[in-house]
Symmetry: C2
Subunit: 192 residues, 2 copies
DNA sequence: TCGGTCACTTTCATTATGGAAGCGACTCTA
DNA sequence: TAGAGTCGCTTCCATAATGAAAGTGACCGA
């Protein structure tokens, strides 16, 4: 991947994706969050080629998502432990989990997300820490920061226009959204 | 990518990554959420090769993240609009945004996330809709669902053991975590 | 009529990936 | 104590994915 747009280095999403922008990295993180530590644990849990696993673990160590800890000398052997930086990707994994569950359903239910202590089901959604209330993605917009360049301003303006036009499913009151969905469902069935 | 572990088809994260497990797809979604619709808008915003963009847009349409809408016949031209399924990936993008901001900081500040109406800054964190309270990833654990196979049980057990050992940064008592959050908030304001 | 734009497609060199085999230092079993 | 097995890799190679560049056909505006 080679992004060239002027706003890219300023965009936290683009920066994040240089670190975690491939499936293997995220699946390795998932397994690490589930307690995997050693080379063969990752290999078995993923069905990944060993050469690929070596490359990914090296990159993740150099990106400080994992740290090597020696557990044996002669020959030197290491475990790969999550760093705080790696661990902080848990919200990304959890939101992916929820999206996969909602939008790529299967017959069988193999896993459940639960509270660690009570074992009650949990359902992660977004919350705004600044205002102490649940956060609907449609309420979020971009604003230019102090160091914005023209490419940033163009992005921000385009997003404002799109939100202003009501382009997105939930940039509307909940009732209107339900109506819209019903209408779409109706027109879908007509088109078929 | 070719995952072969028995628990993979049952894991919503693995399923999600078959759809959105590459950087281009997520960056295209980012731009779509910022109002991009047409081929050249995506191309300029990403600096992506046109052949790659064609392939990615096709795949995203077939995965129902985007839908084609004809805006001109002769020659037929289409806009790519987010579907509800695509739009629901906004929480993934937003959590990535926050992680990039926190862990891959740069000198300059090009963008800010703000409330669409008030323009107040917002800060997305996770929240548990089932219990109506903020959710620390360390409180979440996996449980086997009704259709769990041995691979699923092995994963769940490994995760329980890891949490029991206190392997992870925030698998600590809630009081310690609250202190930690307060300390983080304090150091944030000092750093500015 | 001429250049420019838009939305692609095609071609081709470069790079990434997956599969398989090998290796060195153990450990476990007979 | 010989032999087999395990662990954590590395190396090699065929195949697949990607990026750069050039080409295309229908429009549009001067």
């Amino acid at each position: 991947m080679k992004v060239t747009d002027d706003s890219s280095p300023l965009c936290p999403v683009a920066r994040a994706l240089t670190c975690v922008g491939d499936s293997w990295t995220l699946l390795i993180l998932r397994d690490a969050m589930q307690g995997a530590r050693r080379f063969d644990e990752f290999q078995r849990g993923l069905g990944i080629a060993s050469s690929m696993l070596t490359r990914r673990l090296e990159r993740m160590v150099s990106n400080e998502l994992l740290e090597k800890r020696c557990y044996q000398r002669h020959p030197p052997r290491h475990e790969y432990h999550l760093t705080a930086k790696g661990h902080d990707l848990a919200p990304v994994i959890l939101t992916l989990y929820r999206w996969g569950e909602q939008h790529l359903p299967i017959e069988a239910s193999g896993f459940q997300l639960v509270d660690r202590r009570t074992l009650d089901p949990v359902e992660p959604i977004l919350y705004d820490r600044c205002h102490d209330r649940p956060l609907s993605p449609g309420d979020v917009c971009l604003a230019p920061g102090p160091d914005a360049n023209p490419a940033v301003h163009a992005r921000v303006e385009r997003m404002r226009n799109a939100l202003g036009r009501g382009d997105f499913p939930d940039s509307q009151p909940a009732a209107a959204r339900a109506d819209c969905r019903a209408a779409m469902a109706a027109s879908d069935s007509i088109n078929e």
